[in-house]
């Protein structure tokens, strides 16, 4: 309980047991958070961002052909301004290239985007990969 008067406010000397229960529960939660982050701090290796891209959907849209992808950052470091390049390949030649820039791909997280090509790749291969990033 808190007694609020004009001033100063004062806490009651004999609190309800609920207050202590909530206090102890909160203390445990705070300790968990500190433990978690502390564990990350100690065990974290200094990795450079590495990406895995997966094409999630391909479909014809007005004025082109959209290839949606997800890009996952496998490392413990966040990458910013990630350039994702897509190519339609016919054998070894790139028939068409497209690009998308993702603001952030946080550590061990996924981001989503799409590249729109002007032509339907049909039977040709579509490649998508992370082509560059900067540090946030």
């Amino acid at each position: 309980m808190t007694q609020i008067s004009r001033q100063p406010h004062s806490e009651k000397g004999d609190p309800h047991w609920m207050e202590w229960a909530v206090g102890i529960f909160s203390a445990l939660l705070v300790l968990t958070i500190i433990g978690w982050v502390g564990f990350e701090a100690i065990t974290e290796e200094d990795q450079s961002p590495t990406f895995r891209t997966v094409i999630t959907r391909k479909e014809a849209v007005e004025g082109g052909f959209r290839v949606e992808f997800e890009i996952e950052n496998l490392s413990t470091r966040t990458a910013a301004a990630v350039v994702v390049r897509g190519e339609i390949r016919d054998g070894d030649n790139a028939v068409e290239t497209g690009e998308a820039t993702i603001d952030y791909v946080p550590a061990q997280s996924k981001s989503y985007g799409a590249i729109i090509f002007s032509s339907d790749p049909g039977e040709k291969d579509v490649w998508i990969r992370g082509a560059g990033y900067s540090e946030p």
Partner: protein, 296 residues
């Protein structure tokens, strides 16, 4: 003290004007934030809906503490909360139109979304305006004892905020939630929150947790602000630390997670990274929570 109906309505209108002023004062930084305009138009509607709903009980609770008129019943608190929400919506709409952010020909859902998201902080501001800008609530011709009147004994029952009230523990936590929500809404939409958490190492995050908790405790119990809380003599400092400060920090963390979720910042983000976002957002959140205990 008996009041004529005319004076009563005048008092009420003054209350409304203070509410509008408060809505303006407290929400103008957000009304001029680009990210919030964008969020208003693209934010997923069910998340916006949840945010708007969560605001309702908080407003009723706030209205109960600092209404447009001294409220005694739940009905009156609901009425005041309703007025504040309405004022928040009106002020947001007006300012957004003034700023050219809402124009004819925009899709209705974009307009509604932009106003709705701004109405949350504006409505809280409307109620805060009532308590912070208001001095003596129902008379100007009375001897002016404003909000900063130190003379507690003379502070009769005409003050905007009741002089003497006993808040339950739950109310104290709710109060912190309102403060945390308000400050979180200020900064959560900006890209800086996630950018900062990317720049921080876990060591920085650890320091941020400690400092947030330290500031929270110091705000309320150490720095002698007006409205500072005192422990009864002979009580060790850690009593208040465990019973109020640590739960307050957890409340602030929970609000941070909620706001981040509402703004879609947690989608497909790894748990550790999400925790980092919340720690960063809890820094202002904790300050807001502590400040709410002082000013309200």
């Amino acid at each position: 003290m008996s009041k004529s109906p005319q004076r009563e309505s005048r008092t009420f209108l003054v209350g409304i004007a203070r509410g509008a002023a408060g809505a303006l004062l407290f929400s103008i930084p957000m009304l001029m934030t680009m990210e919030l305009w964008h969020l208003g138009s693209y934010m997923e509607r069910y998340r916006l809906f949840v945010l708007l709903l969560v605001n309702v009980p908080l407003l009723i609770f706030l209205a109960d503490r600092v209404g447009f008129e001294r409220t005694t019943t739940l009905t009156e608190a609901c009425r005041d909360a309703n007025i504040a929400y309405g004022l928040g919506i009106l002020m947001s709409a007006g300012i957004l139109v003034l700023l050219g952010d809402i124009k004819f020909g925009m899709p209705l859902s974009e307009i509604a979304g932009k106003i709705a998201i701004q109405a949350v902080p504006a409505s809280i501001g409307a109620l805060l305006g009532r308590s912070q800008l208001g001095g003596s609530s129902n008379d100007q011709d009375d001897k002016a004892h404003g909000c900063c009147d130190e003379d507690a004994a003379g502070g009769g029952d005409s003050d905007a905020v009741p002089d003497q009230l006993s808040t339950s523990y739950g109310q104290e936590l709710l109060l912190m939630a309102v403060g945390a929500l308000f400050l979180s809404l200020n900064v959560a939409p900006t890209e800086e929150i996630i950018l900062i958490s990317f720049k921080m190492t876990p060591w920085h995050a650890l320091a941020a947790i400690m400092i947030s908790i330290g500031i929270m405790h110091a705000f309320v119990y150490v720095v002698a602000f007006k409205g500072t809380h005192e422990m009864p003599a002979g009580t060790p400092w850690w009593h208040a630390f465990f019973r109020f400060t640590l739960p307050g920090y957890i409340v602030s963390m929970a609000i941070s997670f909620f706001v981040l979720w509402a703004f879609g910042r947690l989608d497909a983000v790894a748990p550790t990274q999400a925790m980092m976002f919340a720690i960063v957002l809890s820094f202002p959140g904790a300050i807001g929570a502590a400040a709410a205990r002082l000013i309200l």
